[in-house]
């Protein structure tokens, strides 16, 4: 199982902000593919400019291995407080 979190306009776009995917995809790339297959518009937005990814609350670039229980957050450009 992996937990996926969407923030800001990404959550509005998808219509959800917190979802569990079981079993967990093996990698971030596999997770992106699964999300894009379920919702092509969301898949495109997740690859959009300025969208960052945090795995277990740490920003990652490129691909990453996902262990069971991993939390993956997609973060659109931050607005500041």
């Amino acid at each position: 199982m992996a937990r996926v979190l969407l923030f800001g306009r990404l959550a509005d776009l998808a219509g959800w902000r917190d979802r569990e995917i079981d079993p967990a995809p093996a990698s971030l790339t596999a997770l992106r593919t699964a999300l894009a297959q379920a919702d092509a518009t969301l898949g495109e937005a997740l690859d959009g400019p300025g969208v960052q990814v945090a795995v277990d609350k740490v920003l990652v670039r490129g691909d990453a291995i996902l262990a069971a229980g991993t939390e993956v957050a997609f973060l659109p450009p931050m607005s500041g407080g």
């Binding site: 945090a54 957050a73 607005s79 500041g80």
Partner: protein, 153 residues
């Protein structure tokens, strides 16, 4: 210390607590950001944070600022959720031996919080809601603190 809260808070009560018992501080600067009504255009401001990520990012930045400016202490309280006009969004207080360090550190922390801190902000107005991104002024303010660009050697 940094706290995220979805409850309204009183900046003055925070300042009272922050100043108490400081016999060697000298200088406490504070900043309070209040939600503006924008003449009715902004009915409610909605701020989203990522708990555990947002507060860790702010604490890491603020601890570095504490060292940089030689602060004795700092306090950051940031509101999340739906915020009505006139309510406090953010409170930052800095304590130092002398006022220059306290002022500069408070200013520095606010520039970061307003432009680079991991929040997502939505403004609900009479014509619907829209997500807000940092203004160019916010970005300019934040770069005031960056080291000068290195010339290629």
């Amino acid at each position: 210390m940094i706290t995220l809260t979805d409850q309204a808070f009183d900046p003055g009560a925070l300042l009272t607590g922050f100043c108490a018992g400081r016999t060697e501080t000298g200088a406490v600067a504070s900043f309070t950001g209040l939600a503006r009504a924008e003449g009715g255009d902004a009915l409610v401001l909605e701020l989203e944070a990522y708990p555990g990520f947002t507060d860790a990012a702010i604490a890491g930045f603020a601890d570095a600022a504490k060292t940089r400016f030689g602060l004795q202490d700092y306090l950051i309280v940031h509101r999340t959720g739906r915020i009505a006009p006139g309510e406090a969004i953010v409170f930052v207080a800095t304590a130092a031996g002398h006022r220059r360090a306290a002022f500069e550190a408070c200013d520095f922390l606010m520039d970061y919080l307003k432009s680079r801190a991991p929040f997502w902000k939505k403004q609900h107005g009479p014509d619907g809601a829209r997500w807000i991104e940092p203004t160019s002024q916010d970005r300019t303010d934040a770069t005031r603190w960056d080291p000068p660009a290195q010339e290629p050697s």
